[in-house]
């Protein structure tokens, strides 16, 4: 069974570091696990020509529970979000960030492949940053993987996204779709990496971005893992230099 190569602490699945609050639109792994983790993340925009810079950092707690070998529920809780804007008038906001609650169901599979339906809600829990609105996000999509070899996977995902503000102000609804095609390779027992072609359409402009996702994933013993992942836009409207995650995960 193709998921068996990833039963230890080495992370599996597409790059999850994202540009959108709560990693909206980022595909989730297809191989369920029960785990707890900590993921400091960072996101930076540097535009001195526009007198604009942004450094966003979060301390995210992650947790997942495998309901079966096909179904996982998970949550990402930005326990702390630090958002600083370097502008003519620089400002900083701090407090709890967004909360993502999702599920993944691998509904069809063979010996070398699997296809899943997955989705999540990004809940408006950044109470000190969103002073008045309640921005709610959701994504749902299909994610498939094919094992070329035991330690070599290709994957692809299409994740439509929706986000809108609740409350008394304008909703500003946005719709988009994220596409992710990539390859995961685990050449060593305790080390693997992932390289994705990532794109987003329609959320802000016709082409939000197209770029690369890359991750280096290590294992610490049988249960723990540490990964460094980044998503880098190469074209499109996205202004960030990169979004970067460092994820520590303990798999039960």
């Amino acid at each position: 069974m193709w998921c068996d190569a990833w039963t230890d602490g080495v992370a599996q699945g597409p790059v999850e570091a994202g540009f959108v609050d709560g990693d909206l639109g980022a595909a989730h792994r297809l191989c369920p696990q029960t785990s707890l983790g900590l993921a400091p993340t960072a996101y930076a925009i540097v535009e001195p020509e526009n007198l604009y810079g942004r450094i966003l950092a979060t301390g995210t707690l992650t947790g997942s529970y495998a309901l079966s070998d096909k179904v996982e529920v998970y949550a990402n809780l930005e326990a702390f979000r630090f958002d600083t804007l370097i502008a003519a008038i620089s400002v900083t906001g701090m407090g709890p960030g967004y909360t993502g609650v999702g599920a993944s169901w691998r509904f069809a599979e063979g010996d070398h492949w699997g296809v899943g339906l997955q989705g999540k809600l990004v809940l408006p829990t950044a109470f000190t940053l969103d002073r008045h609105s309640w921005p709610l996000g959701a994504d749902v999509g299909l994610h498939g993987a094919y094992a070329l070899r035991d330690n070599l996977l290709v994957h692809g995902a299409a994740m439509p996204t929706f986000r809108a503000a609740l409350g008394g102000g304008p909703a500003f609804p946005t719709f988009g779709v994220n596409l992710d095609v990539g390859v995961e390779w685990k050449p060593f027992k305790r080390f693997g990496f992932v390289l994705d072609s990532v794109s987003s359409f329609g959320r802000t402009e016709a082409l939000d971005y197209t770029g690369a996702g890359v991750g280096f994933r290590g294992g610490i013993g049988e249960h723990a893992g540490l990964s460094l992942e980044a998503r880098v836009p190469l074209a499109g409207r996205e202004r960030a230099l990169a979004a970067i995650d460092i994820r520590f995960n303990y798999r039960f």
Partner: protein, 935 residues
């Protein structure tokens, strides 16, 4: 939108409200700063009257109308407000851009609702409601904004109070503050933000209003203060995508120039909004000699036990005063007179009103000043200077720390007379003076004797008289009219002098032709001229100084938005009801487009003049003063004739939509300002152009904004023209200006000729057999040390053996030089030439340390050489030939007392004598004039 500030309640008998569009013939609210025009919206009640500018009449930094343009107390005609507009930050794209305006009426509630977006963010909608109700001393304002972009923004939802400079001075009740606010720049502005209960402002002149704002959304209000702009709004914060915000505030106006007029309202509002009790404090202030309210001004600041200044009061003419202060605090009462603290006392304010009794100021003396011009009493500007160091130290003061130090500080710096240490007189005029020894000086411009009375000892309580006698001298050549083509009055955003005093200063200067050049508007001073009955003594030409406020990008080789500096146009007809009073909207336009807009509005290019003002300079609040600096011309290489987006190619560029190209101006300022160290840069640019065969006339103007700083008419132009004072024809006069038939001077007079040819922009033929005839005259008190002959920008001869008057305060010794110089000794070996003659002092040495051809740094450390050690911002050798950081220019050395230079400075503060002719443009080789090329 809901009504703002629901917790505010006022009631009165007979209250009323109104809202209407100002139509032709409607009388707008009065006041020194009134700009209401046909099409604007009047919103008022029984207490106040406000004007919201029409969407297509934006003013100053606002990209569209919808700003509070005028605001005054009903019936007082005391509008003193430039503009209040909305923004969420400092950048141009963060200002409110309104696209629709709706008038709302619901019984006695009258309102205007505006919808739009941020100027640079169409996805960020904004809505603002201005509302008046009966009996209320201000306007309720509510703004709603939502972030429809995908990005988080820095949001400082604020009202920007554009004071303009030299006008309103903001006051905030904060520890150690009051009128004291930190200096800041764009990179340090975050440190200048403070939370305060309210902001109020004080003014110089009367009639005046004072203004203030409190937040109805929060118990504090946040912002920064300067005499250019104050911003007061909700605390800055991260504005995430899809979030929204509401900010409600009450903008109020008080009658009078004291902060207390507005602060009293602020305390009443805070009691209603936040339950903060206040009490009324009253008392009396008196001067032992009884001068208060007559020849002397004084004020009071009230500071609480935590060092928080809570208000500022100006006493009535009889010395009585009252003001509201927070209850249950202990206070110190600080009396101020002549720009210094005079006395101090303490009192407690519990929960009931307090009478603190009488405060007695330090005793002062009085001097009655009179001036005669050719034996007759007349208008004059008198300079009162400390005669010794002790008097200087004892009398130096400031306006609450703002503006220049003055010794003595007789009146608020940029207001009417007396201002700083200068007094307008017309017949015996009495001023109060602190005890000390003083000198008194005046002149009728540079072509008269210097009236002087030195060492006058003034004692407390006593009075005495000073008579200054001035005689006209035969210095101004026949066939000339003197002119100052750059003067400002109270209609300019950065001037506060009442029109009546401005016109008195016109007369006192002895200038024949005044070109009225208010920033962005036109003013004809007609009422003041009529009131003073001086129409027959003054030739007034109305114009305007186009002054960019809205930053925009016009250089592809520069990373930040800019403005194109300042440009002058005259004549421009005064339109008392029109937007900008007849001037064109002048934002977001390269010079060629400015010329086009003025042309389309009626400025007649054929009889008018376009002038490039002060071609180099810095920036004020990020707005470039000068075209040369903004374009960044490199004077070591020629200008580019083909536009490629770079600054160097902007000179000849014709902007989209323009009829004219950027170089379609007639003259440029070579001298600007009484304090004239910058002329070396203006002169450098003029010569740079002449060397490329780009010939424009040179002018010399005062750029006077008040009775202080630049002295009106110093420097000035002598225009050689066939029109006269008695039969003045502006077309003829302007034609001679465009032709460069001008001598620019702050004292020396040069009459130069080559055969029948006079200086000017027209090409003349000449040969080595011709001679240059130079005649130099000057009033005895004007030092003329040398005459320089410049050929193609290089000083070819310096003549130093000039006659020196025996008595600088006498009438003799006008003739200084009469010489013939052979062109054979001047002309280059080949090619054509342009020749300029200068007279006065040796120029202060300056050098070009950043290798762009523009002198930028002087010998500021006095070590005899100009290098990196003279650069103010460098502490170590950068180790490069061309520095990135340069300046400042060196100022002329401070002269020793009683020297001729010192006498010159008494009425020309900071300046040194200088005159220049316009160029002789000489076609020597017979093939037409060709410049020698960039050097």
């Amino acid at each position: 939108m809901p009504s703002p500030c629901p917790d505010v309640t006022y009631s009165c008998e007979g209250g009323s409200t109104e809202v209407y569009v100002l139509g032709p013939g409607d009388v707008p609210p009065g006041g020194l700063d009134t700009l209401a025009a046909t099409g604007d919206i009047v919103l008022g009640n029984d207490k106040i009257v406000a004007v919201i500018d029409a969407l297509d009449h934006p003013h100053y930094i606002a990209p569209t109308g919808g700003s509070v343009l005028d605001l005054g107390v009903r019936g007082k005609d005391n509008d003193s407000l430039r503009a209040v507009f909305g923004a969420i930050g400092l950048l141009p794209e963060e200002a409110f851009n309104y696209t629709s305006m709706e008038v709302l009426e619901d019984g006695d509630v009258k309102a205007i609702q505006l919808l739009g977006t941020l100027d640079g963010y169409p996805a960020i909608p904004i809505a603002t409601r201005y509302e008046v109700r009966p009996c209320e001393p201000g306007i309720r304002i509510r703004t709603e904004i939502a972030n429809g972009t995908p990005d988080a923004l820095s949001m400082y939802l604020t009202d920007a109070f554009y004071w303009g400079g030299r006008e309103m001075i903001p006051f905030t009740p904060r520890v150690g503050s009051g009128f004291n606010h930190p200096d800041f720049g764009l990179s340090t502005i975050s440190a200048a933000f403070f939370e305060v209960p309210f902001m109020a402002s004080g003014m110089h002149s009367a009639p005046a209003a004072s203004y203030g704002v409190v937040s109805c959304s929060d118990d504090s209000i946040t912002g920064f203060q300067s005499d250019n702009v104050s911003a007061m709004g909700a605390a800055p914060r991260v504005f995430p995508s899809k979030d929204w915000e509401i900010y409600e505030r009450f903008l109020f106006v008080g009658d009078g120039s004291a902060v207390s007029a507005a602060a009293d309202i602020a305390y009443e509002l805070r009691e209603q909004l936040w339950g903060e009790d206040f009490v009324t404090v009253s008392g009396k202030i008196e001067a032992p000699g009884g001068q208060l309210g007559d020849t002397m001004r004084a004020s009071l600041q009230i500071v609480d036990g935590d060092d928080i200044p809570v208000t500022h009061v100006l006493p009535a003419a009889d010395g009585t005063w009252s003001a509201r202060v927070p209850a249950n605090r202990s206070y110190t009462l600080v009396a101020e007179a002549f720009g210094k603290a005079s006395s101090q006392s303490s009192f407690d304010a519990a929960t009931s009103d307090v009478d603190v009794g009488t405060v007695t100021l330090d005793a002062v003396g009085e001097v009655s000043i009179n001036v005669t011009i050719d034996g007759l009493e007349d208008h004059a500007l008198v300079f009162i200077l400390p005669a010794d160091d002790a008097t200087e130290a004892a009398t130096a003061g400031t306006v609450y720390g703002f503006f220049e130090d003055c010794a003595p500080m007789l009146g608020l710096t940029h207001g009417g007379s007396p201002a700083c240490n200068r007094v307008l007189v017309n017949g015996a005029t009495t001023v109060a003076l602190p005890a000390g020894t003083y000198d008194f000086y005046t002149s009728r411009g540079p072509f008269s004797t210097l009236g002087a009375l030195q060492g006058v000892a003034v004692e407390a309580i006593t009075g005495q008289s000073v008579l200054l006698e001035v005689e006209s001298l035969d210095v101004q050549p026949a066939g000339t009219l003197s002119g100052d083509f750059h003067v400002h009055g109270g209609k300019s955003f950065d001037a506060n002098i009442p029109d009546i005093d401005r016109v008195k200063a016109f007369i006192a200067s002895g200038v024949d032709v005044i070109v009225s050049t208010e920033h962005d508007v036109v003013n004809d001073y007609a009422e003041a001229i009529a009131a003073l009955d001086v129409a027959d003594r003054l030739l007034m030409v109305t114009g305007t100084e186009s002054t960019g406020h809205l930053l925009f990008r016009f250089r592809e080789d520069y990373g930040f938005p800019q403005v194109v500096g300042h440009w002058m146009f005259w004549p421009v007809a005064y339109d008392p009801e029109g937007p900008y009073r007849g001037a064109a909207w002048d934002e977001k336009a390269e010079p060629g487009l400015l010329f086009t807009r003025q042309d389309e509005l009626g400025w007649d290019r054929d009889i008018g003049v376009a002038q490039l003002n002060h071609p180099y300079g810095g920036a004020q609040f990020g707005r470039d003063y000068s075209w040369g600096s903004a374009a960044g011309f490199d004077q070591t290489v020629p200008l580019k004739e083909t536009y490629d987006g770079t600054g160097q190619s902007l000179y000849f560029h014709k902007p989209d939509g323009a009829t004219y190209s950027n170089d379609a101006y007639d003259v440029q300022e070579v001298m600007n300002g009484t304090k004239n160290e910058n002329l070396i840069q203006y002169r450098s640019f003029w010569h740079y152009l002449l060397n490329q065969g780009i010939v424009r006339g040179g002018t010399a103007n005062s750029d006077s904004h008040s009775l202080v700083e630049n002295v009106l008419g110093t420097p000035r132009n002598l225009v050689f023209t066939s029109t006269t004072r008695d039969d003045f024809d502006v077309a003829t006069f302007d034609a001679d200006v465009r032709e460069g038939h001008i001598l620019g001077t702050n004292g020396p007079v040069i009459v130069a000729s080559i055969g029948d040819n006079q200086p000017g922009v027209a090409v003349a033929t000449a040969s080595a057999s011709d001679t240059l005839h130079i005649v130099v005259t000057a009033a005895p008190w004007i030092p003329v040390d040398e005459v320089r002959i410049l050929v193609n920008g290089e000083v070819t001869q310096t003549i130093t053996d000039l006659a020196t008057p025996a008595d600088p305060l006498g009438v003799d010794g006008i003739a200084r030089l009469d010489i013939e110089v052979s062109l054979a000794d001047l002309l280059p070996a080949s090619g054509d030439a342009w020749i300029v003659v200068e007279a006065g002092h040796a120029l202060v040495g300056q050098d070009d340390l950043d290798c762009d051809g523009l002198p930028d740094t002087g010998d500021n450390n006095g070590d005899g050489k100009i290098d990196w050690k003279d650069v103010e911002e460098l502490t170590e050798d950068p180790g490069v030939d061309c520095l990135d950081t340069v300046g400042p220019l060196a100022e002329p050395p401070e002269p020793e007392r009683e020297t001729p230079d010192w006498l010159f400075r008494t009425v020309n503060p900071g300046g040194y004598p200088m005159a220049f002719t316009n160029p002789f443009i000489l076609d020597v080789d017979g093939g037409g004039f060709a410049g020698p090329g960039v050097k």
